[in-house]
Amino acid sequence: MRLLIADDDTVYRMFLGRELSKLGYEVVTACDGAAALAVLEDIAGPSLAILDWSMPEADGIEVCRRVRTNSGGRYIYLLLLTARDTPADLIAGMGAGADDYLTKPVNMTELHLRVRAGCRILEFEERSRQLFDDAPIAYHEANTSGVIVRVNHAECRLLGYGADEILGRQVWDFVAPAQVEKRRAGFRAAVEAPNQRMEDTEWEMRGRNGDTLLVRLQQNQVRDSLGAVAGLRCTMLDITELRRQEELLKRQAADLARSNAELEQFAYVASHDLQEPLRMVASFTQLLAKRYAGRLDAKADEYIGYTVGGAKRMQQLIGDLLALSRVGTNGGEFRDVPLSKVMSDVLLNLGPAVQESGAAVVHDSLPTVLADRGQMTQLLQNLIGNAIKFRNAQLPQVHISAEEAGDKWIVSVRDNGIGIAPEHAERVFQIFQRLHTRDQYPGTGIGLAVCRKIVERHGGKIWLDSTPGGGTTFHFTLHKCASGTGKSLR
């Protein structure tokens, strides 16, 4: 630590210098007030000064006053050392800006302890200064007139100015011309506000090269030790790029939504309009098969068979595509839907398949959820239908259960079927993705895509746990009903 000893008394200067050097301080001396000021006004000068009161050129009081006025943001700890020992002297000394006051003849132990106390304050001040200067966010302090008295490196970089070009100017000098008056009024209001911290606001700033920067400004009052507002401390976060990206994202989201809507509309119209000619093709090929079977040659019968089969598959495909597009476009309102009642409908619809396969479909107590009832029927019907369809040699066993998870329900459909390899766990939810040939398991590859679309329309997600050969459990989440848990009995 470098410190200054300013005393016109050679003996005192020598004695204090010697003693403090021995304690490890780097000592600079000055023999009058003018010399002391010259040392302290140097930005690299000592940060702690021991000042004699009575000195030629400028006395210790004057040095204190001038240091406090001109130190340019650098804090200098001032210890006044004098033979004056009345309370009035102490008040005058501290009033001039001294941090501490010690009377002659000096007790070296006491002086050293006071210098150490000063050093502790300076270390803390230095840490605060470094934090301020090196903070990654732009930061400045302004007095109550709006004059910037401190500014950090990040703000200089943001605006493209040097600190010397910012200090001494007013905060509204750096906002876009159209906002100057508003900024001035906002600053004044923040200084006069009863609360220390203000709402964040957004401003257009003008950088050195004329660029407009959008910043989020946070203002806090700086108060002195008596609680009076001494100015504002402002942080500025550059949100120019953030806003640009947000705008871009908004535009992309809107484009995507429009594109999806158009695609859905296209799928709906295309599949709907295809139905009629396809129905005609299917009807007449079936009629052809019925009328002319055995009357043409064997090859003709085979070709007619392929045509009938193809037309049927296409009808199935178009029907499923329509169902998929209708999830988004023809969905019903969300109401409280007891899943136990949905299960009754599903079991009724799947009655023939259940009977034919000998499946056992059971469910636990199921909750009431906020959902589109028709789509809940379709969802559970697809999942249970799959559980029956993708069975192995054992009789199918399907178990439906539900458990609470915060504000949602997790509904699970577990089977003992052929299972799904982990690498296909995502793929099965994509449209037209099939893991088996039609000969092994019939279908269009749309069922689980419909399930995912329904769940996502309800704000939930769907996933599966499975072991090949060990069965599959599909899980999906749904919002609880408006009235709470809504658990119903089986």
């Binding site: 008394d9 050679t10 200067r13 020598m14 004695f15 010259a38 004699d52 002659k104």
Partner: protein, 145 residues
């Protein structure tokens, strides 16, 4: 206050001997005990040089009855007198400072003369002490700005 060169007896009385103008004590004695005789020598040299100059300033102020200057000069001298354990001189400075600051009508030249007499005695005592000190190094220069 006179320098008392004597030891306290068991009943608290002191054996009065003629007062000595200066004797090494306090911070200077601590320095010498710590083996810093050379620095003590330099301090005494500086003190004697500095005081001679200030003595002249004080005499001029007393002759012209510039009481503000007299008070300021005697105040400035008092600090180093105390540091150098020159208590008698410090006391005389204190008296001059107090009377001058109160703007009392006094024979300040006589007071300065009295101060000068004690200063000479003190100087002799200091030089005598310094002459008895071992010399190790050349005096340390003062690099004040």
């Amino acid at each position: 206050m006179d320098e008392i060169d004597g030891d306290a007896t068991e009943n608290g009385d002191t054996c009065r001997k003629p007062p000595v103008p200066w004797r090494l004590s306090g911070a200077l004695a601590d320095l010498e005990r710590a083996g810093e005789s050379e620095f003590v020598r330099n301090l005494i040299d500086a003190f004697l040089r500095d005081t001679a100059t200030r003595m002249e300033t004080m005499r001029k102020a007393a002759a012209s009855m510039d009481l503000d200057a007299l008070a300021a000069c005697s105040h400035a001298l008092k600090g180093s007198m105390l540091l150098m354990s020159a208590h008698r001189l410090a006391e005389l400075c204190g008296d001059i400072q107090q009377h001058a600051a109160n703007r009392e009508h006094r024979d300040y030249l006589a007071m300065v003369d009295q101060f000068d007499v004690v200063l000479r005695e003190t100087r002799e005592a200091m030089i005598s002490h310094v002459d008895g000190l071992p010399r190790h190094h050349p005096p340390t220069p003062d690099h004040s700005r």
